[in-house]
Symmetry: C2
Subunit: 584 residues, 2 copies
């Protein structure tokens, strides 16, 4: 294990030079500008005070910068994970209480430990537990849940708007009366502003004589611009005290203090399932983004190293009293397109956020909560991907149904049950698909040494010889299928005396499949049908040699090539050829 | 749907002739002789009165005879399912009470409905949910649990011997005092008798001038012989009243009455998980036996039809007030080797059991319970398969570990948790294995049109062209692996400008894999590497054609053959060849 495996930052630190710095500096600043409002908004989504999101944006990205493998991934609080935190803590404590915050911090530690467990056990395979359609269905439903939860601050509801409120006519007609009109108006103005900036600002900037990547970067500062103007409006028109428009209010100044949450074993047990699910979702999201970024610069992504990086990031978040973090999509793209070369950009972002917390928190006093909701709404609604769903459904019916089922399960049975259902659907679909491997009956092409599928080619076959090619490794989920297939052929073809199993695509045979083959051999013996093998690969044959299948008194014959097998088996058998060239 | 699909018995009924009858008659009688003591013993194991096992041996096999697809499978109560019934009902009612029996009957209905659900939804794939090693580990552990549970009747314990009794020294030393000595002696004598008959009686019979199959059949009558002699001993020496040796006692005479259990929704919910697990285990066991039997006579086994047959058998069992049933191994083998030709043998067995219930129940009064325990012990202990475990461990480490884990989980966490753990282990192992498909980098063999793995053959390659063959269909569990593999190659080889994906073994591409390919394409575009395909199969290409991957402005090039691809791509690229023939 080299030094750079344990401490991957050594790689870019050792080769760092001045030419990289300007890119990192600009990217660091632009990302910070995007991150500050996002961090506060996602913190609110998780049911936590706004400064927690900023705390999570200091130690976490620095830890990731030192231990993660991606050079441009921006780590911090993200939308879906924040929703999952709110969901996990909902049954444990009241939002706004000290025990709610404590549980959130504990959750950071637990997610961190889960990531480190993944790294140690090399469980990178976890990122593949959810098929793409299922993950899309989950994300779409989560986005809708997030959007719904943001209606309360967006419209300034007196009390939290619940889904149940939409179900009874009585509470439905009372909804308009519960809205703070000015808050809603301000929210809508902010939303339109964000939409227009996003849609048209970039195009406008492109016409200016600046680089495209810088223009894209600056266009992402929309949230900050809207935040500044709306805060000014609150301040100038005194909207908070006069019209009761909710604002963030006082944020304690200064950096977070190092803290260790009090250890509570029963709380750990209660939070464990949520921590695991948050880890899986965070891991899938982060790796998906990091993969895209790495390939853009032909860099290598190490999934295990990603788990180390995210693990330390979450533990860092926990120690600084903040909630779980992972790689954020829009933020990472901004960081990358603004020219970040290394993780120094993330460290610069973290330092800016630290400075903000130290000096500028009074400026946030007048930030209206509705603008944070607007920032989330604009970011989240593009996650609802109806077009992608229709595309999946058209391309593969089963995948489309899996996506729709996951979507509905999340909406109706909650985020965790829905996610588990999604994992179950993914695995079942996978199991079902891979347990039906492609099996071809092959015959000889003319007098050549080529053998092809009888269904697609005109080939020579013998009535007493069935040559079968299985296009997959044999293991418990498909061995039985092969056995049934062969036994059915034997039952249907009384003239059959020889079966040749062509193993050119069989890379492994597990213990179940070996058992099935042994049983198949004895079943074929009972039916007086001989079993032969051809083209068994070297490593597979090495292991088979020692088994009772091949050390028995009457072992199956193994041929090196299908051609040789055909020649020898056809010679001993029935001379009647089923030769298409003759029958034409 | 033909008549014989709905009513498969029509097949053998319509062609039935006199020559088949003698075999069926003899097999029916011999199987009945084996079944009577077995049915009572397994009934005791399930915690039910002895006649319930006999009830389960009348309607159930007749229903199976009419609707099942195997011609020789003998259906009735079996050991592992009986243990699972006892386990499922343990927390619901006290053994011996009316509500315990009622729950057992309800369980039969539920198992029957599960089977019919499997048949309707064609979930035959369920029989593959457990890998062979995991099923073996489960069976071994279940056998040990059954054996332990039989120590109570075997040694005539005053109160049920619990596992906890073995853990404290106080209760450990009190164990000998709790034994009924004469019961234990009688049990040991019966056990030895059963063992000797099994071991030597068949050999002795072989010397007589009767057919081997009949001899094997008669040798299986050991349980009845031991049962008769031990009952005589009880009666002659009045062991029951004098020495307190427990006997079966009074069995109500007559056939079971048709009954419909009272419907209790909360009980149904409570029993649902157990019913599903019993169904899976019963299905796997039954199909495994039926497969062996079918192949011996070159018959075709229809798994869906098996599910129909077992479904109606269990519902029949429920209507006649009995517990869940499935195909029994030893019983089916006896039936088969005694010459059964069709399911008429099973109907004859059922009629004999019906006659026994009607006329001979008083004869069972003096059957000692210890002999039933001895019958179970001798049958069950060969299910503990240490040799098979070592074989699996040697052949495939992962399979061995999975088997051991399942075994320990069943023993320490109970039969249902253990079984679920086994299913989980099977699926995870399957997932892990199939998510790492075989990927080969290939090169040209000389100037031929053959392309082989660069690791195994001396082949021609080009530094700017990477030709990759993936030996599996692409879907969500392995597409990411392929993507990472390719991106790593791209990161490691800066001279790379073309990637050729050879899809000769790709039979399908699911929506996730399509998404991964689209992403891979754009990632490679970012790295200025061109992606090409070769040998895409017809049906796969048809579906790909319509996707955005191929309808984009800059679609990947598709070549019909690898040879053509090599020729065209090498022509446009770097002329430097890496030809092994030159470098030698």
């Amino acid at each position: 294990m080299s030094f750079s495996t344990v401490f991957p930052a050594a790689k870019w630190l050792s080769t760092y030079n001045k030419s990289l710095f300007s890119g990192d500096l600009i990217a660091g600043i632009i990302t910070a500008i995007l991150l500050i409002p996002q961090a506060m908004a996602y913190s609110a989504l998780a049911g936590l005070p706004p400064q927690i999101g900023l705390y999570a944006s200091i130690a976490a990205p620095i830890m990731y910068a030192l231990f993660g493998s991606s050079r441009t991934l921006a780590v911090g609080p993200v939308a879906v994970a924040s929703l999952m935190v709110a969901y996990a803590l909902g049954s444990i404590a009241e939002q706004g209480t000290a025990s709610y915050l404590e549980a959130a911090i504990l959750l950071s530690f637990m997610v961190g430990i889960c990531f480190i467990g993944i790294a140690i056990l090399r469980l990178g395979v976890l990122t593949e537990f959810l098929s793409h359609p299922v993950m899309a269905g989950f994300t779409s439903a989560a986005a809708i849940m997030i959007a719904f939860s943001q209606l309360t601050p967006f419209a300034g509801f007196d009390e939290k708007l619940l889904f149940a409120d939409l179900l009874s006519i009585g509470s439905l007609i009372s909804i308009p009366g519960r809205i703070n009109d000015l808050t809603l108006v301000l929210g809508i103005v902010c939303l339109c502003g964000l939409y227009l900036i996003r849609k048209h600002f970039a195009k406008f900037l492109e016409k200016l004589p600046i680089s495209t990547s810088l223009a894209t970067g600056i266009a992402k500062t929309g949230p900050l611009i809207v935040l500044v103007f709306s805060s000014l409006a609150i301040w100038i028109f005194d909207m908070n005290s006069t019209y009761d428009v909710a604002v963030i209010g006082h944020i304690p100044a200064g950096l977070p203090e190092l803290s260790v949450s009090s250890f509570n074993w029963s709380l750990v047990q209660e939070l464990a399932p949520s921590a695991i699910l948050i880890t899986i979702v965070s891991f899938i999201e982060s790796v998906a983004i990091a993969k895209v970024l790495a390939s853009k610069r032909r860099e290598r992504l190490n999934i295990t190293q990603e788990a180390w990086g995210l693990g330390f990031a979450n533990i860092g978040s926990g120690f600084t009293g903040a909630s779980p973090v992972c790689g954020g999509f829009s933020r990472s793209v901004v960081n990358f397109s603004a020219g970040a070369n290394t993780q120094l950009a993330a460290i610069i972002t973290a330092l800016i956020i630290g400075a903000t917390l130290t000096f500028f928190t009074p400026l946030f006093y007048n930030v209206p909560k509705t603008v944070l909701a607007a920032i989330i709404l604009i970011a989240i609604l593009e996650l609802v991907d109806l077009k992608g769903f229709l595309k999946n459904l058209r391309y593969d019916r089963a995948d489309g149904v899996a996506e729709a089922t996951t979507f509905l399960c999340v909406l109706f049975f909650g985020i965790e049950t829905g996610l588990l259902a999604g994992i179950g659907i993914s695995l079942t679909l996978h199991f079902w698909r891979s347990s039906r491997p492609h099996i071809a009956i092959v015959g000889q092409v003319g007098d050549s040494e080529h053998f092809r599928n009888v269904k697609r080619h005109k080939v020579k076959t013998y009535p007493h010889l069935l040559a079968i090619r299985i296009d997959e490794s044999l293991f418990f989920a498909n061995a039985g299928y092969l056995e049934t297939y062969i036994l059915n052929e034997v039952a249907n073809k009384p003239e059959l005396s020889d079966i040749l199993l062509i193993c050119s695509a069989v890379n492994a045979i597990d213990a179940s499949a070996l058992h099935t083959l042994e049983q198949l051999k004895s079943e074929l013996d009972d039916s007086s049908v001989a079993l032969h093998f051809a083209e068994i690969k070297g490593p597979v044959m090495d292991r088979l040699q020692a088994t009772s299948l091949f050390s028995s008194q009457n072992p199956p014959q193994v041929f090196l090539s299908t051609h040789q097998a055909f020649k020898e088996i056809s010679a001993k058998g029935n001379p009647l050829l089923n030769d298409p060239e003759w029958s034409i």
